[in-house]
Every structure is written in structure tokens, then in C-alpha cells.
Symmetry: C2
Amino acid sequence: MNDYEVKVAKVKGEFVWHSHADTDELFLVVDGTLTIQLPDGDVTLSPGQLFVVPRGVEHCPVAAEEASILLIEPAGVVNTGQAGGDLTATHDTTLLDD
Amino acid sequence: MNDYEVKVAKVKGEFVWHSHADTDELFLVVDGTLTIQLPDGDVTLSPGQLFVVPRGVEHCPVAAEEASILLIEPAGVVNTGQAGGDLTATHDTTLLDD
């Protein structure tokens, strides 16, 4: 959408703590439950609920059971932010562009 | 999110045909069913499904029964696009800003 990407992900387990210095990041749960761990506490989302992590704020998503989520953020944002590591996704524009 | 707004709406009935010259518009259904009428045909969305209407494309959302939807678009976009009319919403930044 415009210069944003809508990413669909199935997640289970704990991601890595990371942040995005230059952009907010929108999480929306489609199926299951997602908890977003934040410095000030946890936010738990059920289907249809969303949360926007402000730019620069450390966060670590975790799902006890498999959950389907949408992420919306500007094109090119790296999923692990500044943290890097094994969970960093390669970017497939064929799949991700609108 | 950044300079975008996430709008929550309960809709029932038919909206007006309109377009947005300068922006794409993302519709996501949270509850119920939404049909987006487009020049090339209809797109019907169930909960968790989304569709992005490209900029400049005429569209007319319709819901036979009340549906809960999310719209994501840049801040300040007028809901009725170029069409105007009685369904044009006033913009309440207190409610709509993240």
C-alpha cells in the first residue's frame, strides 16, 4: 500500500528483542494470540486487535501457540531491526509487494 | 503509525462510489463480511482478509449486515474521496491519531 508492505506471518515461540529506529510497526492478530513484550510491560492481542510499536522502542513478540499475524511497515524494514541474527528474514519482493 | 491512521469502523449498507487520487487504501475485515465493489468486479472479504484499493480506482464498499472493519491510509484522507456528500466524515484527531 503506497510505499508500505503488508506482511503475513505465522509465528510460534519467542522472537528477539529489537527495535526499529526509523519507523513505527503495526501488529495485527488474525488468528491465535500474540504477546508483545515491551520495556513497560506486555501487550497481549487477540484476533482483530492491533498494536503499534513506536519507533525506537525495544520489543519482543512471543506466541505460546502458533498465531497468524499481519505486520504493516514501510517497504524494506528488516524484521529483526538492529538486532540481526539468525531470525533475520531475507526480503522477497515478489511475495511482499502489493 | 508514522503518518498513517488506523481507522476502526462499523459499517452497514452501501457507501458511495468514490476514489482517492493520491493514495492507496487498505481495508481489513475484523468481523462480518465486506464487499468492495470495483470497476472490474466485486471483492468480498471475510474476517482477517484484506484488500488494497489502488489510488485513483473507483470503489464502493457495501455490507449487507453490520461489519467491523479497519482502514489504513495516510492521515487526513477524506473518506468519500472526490465524491463528497452526506457520508463525508469530519476528522477528529483526538480519536483517530495513534
